[in-house]
């Protein structure tokens, strides 16, 4: 069963998290996991991250960057064994009232003229982690994080060589500073999931 979880946090962070928890619950809902081809993908139809402050910024013609990360942890719920970071550049066309999403590495890399729901769906469709090498009958945890990032955060995370995992871990462990932060996790076993053919690049 999916549920919200907090990583190692200080007292102040617990307090903030406590205050923010109802918001997160309200925004997130439950997490299902799809097993497409060789990849795992969180399925969150109720997650609407193009909203609130992010949407206000988009309507001011800014680019809003969303950073996501999937972490697979061993059954001890402590030891991570796989990270899959992703970033989405979202902008809002102030003349056409539609969104553009750019996902480095995706095919196509950019999509134009999307509604908010289509933009969110395309982003989530590209949040995947490889399941290759994961034993089908072994329990593990899948954790999903999503946050907005501003350019000064991006400077420490993204470089010419791509996303820095250590920068990303540091980023997600930081106090969200008023920004929404979605974090969900679920205990899994590949053998329990229904495997479907790959559906990337729709």
């Amino acid at each position: 069963m999916a549920h919200l979880c907090a990583a190692k946090m200080g007292r102040r962070s617990w307090l903030l998290a406590g205050l923010a928890l109802p918001l997160l619950v309200a925004r997130a809902g439950t997490m299902d996991v799809a097993f497409d081809g060789d990849t795992l993908r969180p399925v969150l139809p109720d997650l609407h991250f193009i909203a609130g402050r992010a949407l206000e910024r988009l309507k001011d013609a800014r680019t809003v960057v969303f950073l996501s990360q999937i972490t697979l942890l061993r059954d001890d719920h402590v030891t991570p064994f796989r990270h899959a970071p992703q970033r989405f550049y979202v902008s809002y066309d102030i003349w056409e009232g539609r969104f553009k999403v750019t996902i480095p590495g995706a095919v196509p890399e950019s999509r134009l003229g999307l509604t908010a729901a289509q933009a969110e769906a395309w982003c989530m469709d590209n949040v995947t982690v490889s399941a290759l090498g994961v034993a089908p009958d072994r329990d593990f945890w899948m954790r999903f994080d999503l946050r907005t990032a501003d350019p000064k955060d991006m400077a420490g995370i993204v470089s010419e060589s791509g996303i820095s995992i250590s920068g990303l871990i540091e980023f997600f462990s930081r106090n969200p500073d008023g920004e929404p932060h979605w974090m969900m996790e679920r205990r899994l076993r590949l053998a329990d999931l229904r495997r479907t053919p790959s559906r990337r690049n729709w």
Partner: protein, 414 residues
Amino acid sequence: MKYVCFSLLLVGGLLATGTQDSETNVNSRYTVENVVVSGNGWSTSPAVDRDHKISSGLRKEIAALVGEKLNPARLDDLARRLRKELHARTVEHHVLRGKSPEYVQVVFQVEVPPTRFDASVPKFLYQGEQGWSGAFEGTATVNNNGFTAGLVSDGDELVERYTGVVARYESEPLLDQRARLRFEYASYHELWNSSTVAAAGASQLYRSRDEFQPVLSVQVARPLEVSFGASFESLGQQMPGAQPLAADAFVAGARYRQEMEGSSDQALEADYDLRAGSHALGSDYAYSRHRWGFRYRLTHGKHELVDDGWGGVLLGQAPLFERFVLGNSTSLRGWNKFDLDPLGGNRVVHNTVEYHYGIFQIFCDSGAIWDSGQAAVARASVGAGLRQGIFSLALAFPLRDGRMDPVFMMGMNY
């Protein structure tokens, strides 16, 4: 070394994100139609207006957005610089649809804190002949009303060294942002140079000077501002027990400032000031003091050429603080004002030509100061030094036969 590496990483990261922003933002295909900077009760369009709240350099950069493709990352940078320059609490930028399709308008919304406190040094100077002069002020701004209090000791500007306190109130903009009301109070203790004491009659010197000056300034048209008001001065006499003398005057002024921007920037300023002491105000002095000035500045890259000319006429019987002075840190630099005229003059004409290249400056001052009925003697000086922003350091040489006694000056805002 670690700082170099860190900087490279940071710059690399910023470049990466900057490039991405222009590539990823769907609005970067639209052209900027207009840019507006607006704050609490004011707004300006830097491409059209020459609002002096914003520095020339930043204004030009904002104006350059017009006609270009929208670059949201650039807007973030300009908002940050506006916030710093205007001491604003926040500067948000909003992008709106333009009047024509494919065009957008940019609005920088400036939010200034309702109350803030600034400390400033309006003048700080060491001049080889006159010694130190300086002023220090603190200003509290409450809902756009400015309350200032400060200390000053100035042996440079007038024939007297005046030392004391100043207090000033400047109202929030009135009459649709076109007018401001100002009340200024000052109380000075006076020190006189021995040559002034020797040349003056006993009744001319005063021990203290208290001043109250209400003035209304009105912007008639964008480059032209006029001001009028009154100045009430009480001059405490040297003789113990003597009644103070009143030097009350009507004051009026006009200022014109025009800037022309192109491959070379030009600025033209002209001003006229009148102070008329009148028995109608209860003054013991009846006089009129006229001063007019003209200033032209041409800037091309690092080169800057400035010509600053001014003159004045004083008619009637006026107190010493109204008399003109040459031979200080701004006029006939290198000359000693007490050698030229220990009481100041009632006629003056002066011109300065300055050339700046980067931080280097050279200048040539010429002028004459005399009293009506006397022959005017033209004098000149040259000098060189360094100037960076408000800081300046210079060595000035009076041009005269036989001797060369340079005068050293350094300071800020003089």
